[in-house]
């Protein structure tokens, strides 16, 4: 999935996959913090964002 998104022109750091069991709460917190930090670092996404429809 990541590969095609990247191929289409999406920043690879915006997508992250992780396997977390429902029991692994600390891992979940850690992963979410890591991802939010990464995404904040690259700034808001300008792509794949739908604004007001560009139609007639």
């Amino acid at each position: 999935m990541k590969n095609l998104l990247v191929t289409m022109g999406i920043d690879p750091d915006r997508l992250h996959f992780s396997w977390i069991s429902s029991a692994e709460s600390t891992k979940f917190v850690k992963v979410v913090n890591e991802i939010t930090a990464k995404v904040k670092a690259i700034g808001p996404n300008q792509r794949f964002v739908k604004k007001e429809a560009k139609v007639a």
């Binding site: 590969n3 095609l4 191929t7 022109g9 996959f17 992780s18 794949f48 429809a53 560009k54």
Partner: protein, 315 residues
């Protein structure tokens, strides 16, 4: 090619006479040059409708979905791979089918020919590897290999992978083709360039869904773009909605696509949406050594877990 036609008719007639099938699905002569129409034949005396030439690019596996009767079906390499996928995905049963295999030497890309002649195509004939095209601007001859559909020119599975009958001896498979040159070219672009590239590629889309509907893999009773509760994708011509449709449709074909080219061939505005599915095919091959629909015994790449999965997160 006419020998293929004769042989298909002969087999179809035999299957119908012996009541081994209730219908044979094949092609009939179209009403325009370089167009054939998928059709069915139910009676032995109607088999003369069936034809075969280099304009049979539509994937006939598309016509098998959820059918219940016993069917004879004409299948070139890619059709046969999609038949395999259909059987694996329980869309049709192997016992229902008599597969009439056609060794394939590629289908012609009508657009390539149209782009290199004057005026419209009036008549076309094919002998050996030569395609003779009559147009308002006169007659022009093409070497078939130069006007093949792009997917056919890089095809490495021309012979049916599964069949009950064969209309001819297998043809030699192509070995020295660069299957993924176009995908590699995109991968070499910068993020910006890739975004621009797909923006341009998809701009002419009119959302007629011919690509989706020509695809044998797209058989969902309600496609995600049609779903209204909740509605995932807007229905307008907004570029973001168009992109979402193409992108997600490609994903739904991941590990299943045989690059039969039906989507691109069906597109009325000539979009090469195969670039998306091909990227996934390439990943499946490189990551999992997987090509879709080669045999009935192995489960699709995205359907199994193996301890050596290349993705880190899954271990």
């Amino acid at each position: 090619m006419s020998t293929y036609t004769d042989k298909i008719r002969e087999i179809a007639q035999r299957l119908l006479k012996e009541c081994r099938v209730e219908m044979v699905i094949g092609f009939r002569q179209g009403s325009m040059p370089m167009m054939n129409e998928p059709c069915f034949v139910r009676k032995p005396e109607e088999v003369d409708r069936l034809v075969w030439d280099s304009n049979c690019g539509i994937n006939l596996a598309n016509y098998l979905t959820n059918r219940k009767e016993k069917i004879g079906i004409v299948a070139k390499g890619c059709d046969s791979r999609n038949i395999v996928t259909h059987i694996l995905e329980n869309k049709v049963k192997r016992e229902q089918l008599v597969i009439i295999g056609v060794p394939c030497q590629g289908m012609i890309d009508k657009r390539k020919i149209a782009a290199s002649i004057q005026g419209e195509i009036l008549a076309v004939s094919e002998t050996g590897g030569q395609i003779k095209v009559k147009s308002a601007g006169g007659e022009k001859s093409f070497n078939k290999n130069e006007v093949l559909q792009q997917n056919c020119s890089v095809c490495v599975h021309r012979n049916p992978v599964i069949h009950d009958e064969m209309v001819a001896a297998p043809v030699a498979e192509q070995t020295d083709v660069d299957q993924y040159a176009d995908v590699n070219a995109i991968e070499a672009m910068s993020t910006e360039e890739r975004w621009e590239f797909f923006e341009k590629l998809l701009a002419p889309c009119i959302r007629c869904y011919a690509c989706r509907n020509a695809c044998p893999l797209c058989y969902c009773p309600t496609c995600f773009v049609d779903e209204s509760k909740p509605q995932w994708v807007g229905k307008s011509q907004d570029p973001m909605d168009v992109r979402t449709f193409h992108f997600l449709r490609a994903f739904h074909c991941a590990g299943r696509c045989t690059d039969c080219g039906a989507c691109e061939r069906a597109c009325p505005v000539g979009i090469n949406m195969r670039l998306l599915t091909k990227k996934l095919n390439k990943d499946c091959l490189e990551l999992y050594g997987w090509q879709a629909g080669l045999n009935l015994d192995s489960r699709p790449a995205l359907d199994v877990y193996k301890a050596n999965d290349p993705e880190d997160f899954i271990h």
